[in-house]
């Protein structure tokens, strides 16, 4: 994405260098794209989220590191994943955890996943005119114990969804999930709910496939499974080139 067009307004501090300057001094641009892929699937009584662990210097063909997690278990048992600018992501994660702690102190209970979904939207919108360049997914269980997944844009619009894939490999994984999870492009099939094991298998296949084509997806995939029993994390290899 051209990040200049991504900004809703032109960054007002773009230097107006003196026209006599022979060369325009390189100006400071406050965003980077550290890429990577995040995906989520919600089931009847579970949610499965996954993210690769590669961090890249987007556009420079550089791998920063093979293992820098971009998916995190939050204190209330929800799981939060993000791709985009990692500096914004860590800041955003800190803010969420701080708000969860305040909530715990104020109300003596954990925040529910739907409430957290709304909170994340508000936190994103709080930076409407200097956005967090993050593509966020949130997964957990709702108040009735059903699996829920929420997808966002970087300024806070959000919706609950069955399956969602975002980030550098998101465009490749999303149609696969549309077919396998939402079964949108299939006819005459039995719409039986997916089991947890089947969902995890689909998720792994999605990431191994995306890693074949997207240079910014690779190294490892971490699969987070949320059930009434809690959050379980598994780590699998992806291709490392």
């Amino acid at each position: 994405m051209d990040m200049n067009s991504f900004l809703p307004i032109q960054v007002p501090w773009t230097p107006q260098t003196a026209t006599s300057a022979p060369k325009q001094a390189p100006s400071f641009f406050p965003y980077a794209d550290n890429a990577g892929t995040v995906a989520a699937i919600s089931g009847t009584d579970f949610a499965v989220l996954a993210a690769d662990t590669r961090q890249s210097a987007g556009g420079n063909y550089l791998i920063n590191t093979r293992y820098q997690p971009k998916m995190f278990k939050l204190s209330n048992g929800s799981v939060f994943g993000t791709s985009g600018f990692y500096g914004d992501a860590t800041t955003f994660l800190n803010r969420i955890n701080q708000r969860l702690e305040w909530y715990r102190h104020a109300h003596d209970k954990e925040m529910s996943t739907p409430a957290l979904a709304q909170l994340i939207s508000i936190l994103l919108y709080s930076r409407r005119f200097f956005p967090y360049y993050v593509r966020v997914l949130l997964g957990g269980l709702d108040l009735e114990g059903r699996g829920v997944v929420y997808g966002y844009d970087s300024i806070g619009s959000y919706e609950a969804c069955l399956s969602r894939a975002v980030g550098s490999g998101g465009k490749m994984i999303q149609p696969f999930l549309d077919n396998q999870i939402e079964r949108k492009t299939q006819t005459g099939i039995l719409r039986a709910p997916l089991t947890l094991d089947k969902t995890k298998t689909i998720m792994r296949d999605a990431f191994t496939s995306a890693a074949e084509r997207d240079i910014y997806t690779g190294d490892y995939v971490e699969i987070f499974t949320i059930t009434a029993q809690g959050v379980n994390v598994e780590k699998f290899d992806l291709r490392k080139d």
């Binding site: 230097p15 260098t17 390189p26 965003y31 200097f130």
Partner: protein
Amino acid sequence: MEWNFDPFSNNSFNHYGNNPINASHSAGGIIQRTQSPKVWGGTTLGVVYQDGVMLAADTLGSWGQLARYRKEERLYPVGNFTAIAYAGDMSDFQYTKHMLDSLMIKEYYINDDHVLSTPHVYEYLSRVMYHRRTKMDPLWNTFIVGGYNNGERFLGYVDLLGTTYQSSAISTGLGAYYAQPILRKAVEGREGLLTEAEAIELLNSCMRVLFYRDCKVINSIQRAKVTAAGVEITEPYSVSSEWGFGEGVRGFGSQKQ
């Protein structure tokens, strides 16, 4: 006629147009500080090895294409078990050094037996960098933070945007292209096996490659090692290099052996 022979102030000499006198004071009365770096330190390297972590950098502070400061130490200890290496603007780094020193002194005088370990310094530094980035007034630096605390090796990266990551081998600048593949091949998967002698040889050979290929690296380098014994930074030294006529040089060009 204008008396303006100072190449720092005159844009017809200063091709980078980065003289602070010419900095624009633009929208909203915001005064711009470092909008582009002036004196620049280039590549830095860091690896983890058996006994801790090791960092390396040359000692050049460039002013544009000019090799301006040839004894600029770009490795710095923060407390007893952390060392940082910087690339980027020299004055911003000096500010950062001062800031970290003040922090460590403040912590020392609290006198509660708590000392800031490397992850703490790393987190602090990354929050400062992100904050300055968000003010659109960045500290134009890339840091490698290395440390060894209670048997744990730590090697992390922080840059002017507040991007952070940890890895067993990190390099900045052109080193990310020239040295990183060499470092990864030597280090990845054998973090606990690499000996000190191997790590030194590895960093020396990477610095030699950079000296040959990166015109903003000079053959005056320093290493820092952080182990259970603390931080140790070497004096500047040189690595061997070969500039003889290619015909007689072993391994040159298409020559196989």
